[in-house]
Symmetry: C2
Subunit: 310 residues, 2 copies
């Protein structure tokens, strides 16, 4: 059996920037494993480890970055997730000021969450696991984005469709792309309302490809059934509008429709939804079913400039 190149969990960043120093490199098509700390940096080991006591400088580590050989600014990097192997225990935390209802919370709370038999246990409830990668991104075109923030480069998109079998598409802005990831959740609801989910250390095996001269406006994720455009902006309202705009544009170009026809098709077929409501930028998703956009997504995207779409 071939050994897979592994990026150790001790090699991480806390920000996506234009100038990131790679810790390794791979060729497109080569499998690579990212070993990732949980989003709390491994600081929560018991229910007495509450948010108020954590070192926030150690939150949201993203393993990497690594160079993808041959990736150039103006390309799109695709990252297919082959497996996510999680530790047997996760944690969730919340407290006053945290998340959607932070103003209504009066105390800090932490729960340790056993993960066994494909379920996350919360009290007497068993929630089916749905492992996902919360942070995945590449070096930015300009500006520094902490790993806790999402934008055009990816980052903390906290989108539950970024799971095993899905492919993430990220706009490349720097030579080698500089891919980093982490923040695995064993399970999360859309919104991630309390500010965290089942945070767990994990090992993520991925395979990359480079779509030459394909300039995306925003990241996308493709699952077996759907294509999701992921837009992260300061308010969820802005993000929902921009995600709608991107989906309409994609349908318009793909089918050669008028803008009005593409708009109507989106109204019939595209689901506008929420990835997360709690990070510095909020993430909306426009989910296009494959019956509205048949054929390989890469054929639609390849060699085109999509930056004007958002």
């Amino acid at each position: 059996m071939k050994t897979i190149k592994t990026i150790d969990s001790a090699q991480y960043v806390y920000a996506f920037t234009p100038e990131m120093a790679p810790v390794s490199h791979i060729a497109p098509g080569e499998m690579v494993r990212f070993d990732a700390l949980d989003a709390l940096g491994g600081q929560v080991r018991a229910e007495t480890d509450i948010l108020a006591g954590l070192d926030f400088d150690r939150v949201n580590p993203a393993t990497g970055p690594i160079t993808i050989d041959g990736a150039k600014p103006g390309d799109t990097l695709s990252v297919t997730l082959h497996s996510i192997e999680m530790d047997e225990q996760g944690a969730i935390v919340t407290g006053p000021g945290m998340g959607v209802l932070g103003d209504e919370m009066t105390s800090y709370a932490t729960r340790m969450l056993p993960i066994r038999n494909a379920a996350v246990e919360f009290g007497g409830l068993k929630l089916p696991v749905r492992p996902m990668v919360g942070v995945i991104g590449v070096a930015t075109e300009t500006g520094r984005y902490a790993t806790g923030t999402a934008h055009r480069h990816g980052g903390n998109m906290d989108t539950k469709e970024i799971g095993v079998g899905s492919t993430v598409y990220l706009p490349v802005s720097q030579d080698g792309a500089q891919l980093a990831m982490g923040d695995v959740h064993a399970v999360m609801g859309d919104g991630e309302v309390c500010v965290s989910a089942c945070e767990v250390a994990a090992r993520i095996v991925v395979e990359t490809a480079v779509l030459k001269a394909t300039r995306l406006a925003w990241p996308m994720v493709e699952t077996s059934e759907r294509i999701h455009v992921l837009v992260s902006l300061p308010t969820i309202e802005e993000a929902l509008i921009e995600a709608t705009r991107c989906a309409v544009s994609l349908l318009q170009r793909a089918h050669g429709l008028s803008k009005e026809d593409a708009y109507m098709l989106a109204s019939l077929a595209v689901d506008i939804g929420v990835s997360q409501l709690v990070d510095p930028n909020k993430t909306a998703k426009a989910s296009i079913p494959k019956y509205a956009l048949p054929g390989p997504l890469t054929d639609w995207l390849s060699g085109q400039d999509w930056r004007g779409d958002g």
Copy 2:
């Protein structure tokens, strides 16, 4: 075969108010059929019938209202949808100023949409039908709400989960509830971004029940897998927050959790999403999977006052 009482499509209202004159009455447990015009009042018969030319006083008719025998203020009315039989052609319309991207549209457009073989045809695409009831509501406690607006009484919630097999729960504010419905869509994406969906005339067969002394804050809809709290407020951001609050409260009471624990459970299991972004009030949904709220929903709701939850 027993004849089902039918409410004719010529018997409709354009507003939900405190004082609605019933056109008929039924007993709980009795099947009843609502024949509903499409949301455009049947005014669109060809692609030359554009929005700019429509009589807006004839938009969003809701068939009814009917009295549900024995329903009293402070009860909850449940409405189970047994079937939705649609005409063979629907229509979708949009134009400048309409919907999420109205500012970017330059012309009015109408498309006639054949519905056959369980698909809505749009150009060469076939979109699987998913019939749903856009407007469903009861007499209000106070205030007049046009049928195009949603609020605590129900109304134009445009929620695609309100389909065959689902049960809608509505807070009763007046004697007899005064149930009315219409605005069937053969298919719609979450958001209904262009302002309309596949608008179609239809015949809806439902069965009602009355949960005594159960006071809901907001409507809910139950499907085989999930329970959705439906909140309609002037901005989607407010609606998303309020929907989160309602879901946390429901989990808190159902499981006897602390507020913080219920908040964390919601973050793990509840999907916060969008029903529609285009009506005068926007509708958000908090979708609770049944593995997080096991057992019949009626058992959780019955005989409790939920009005403080939102």
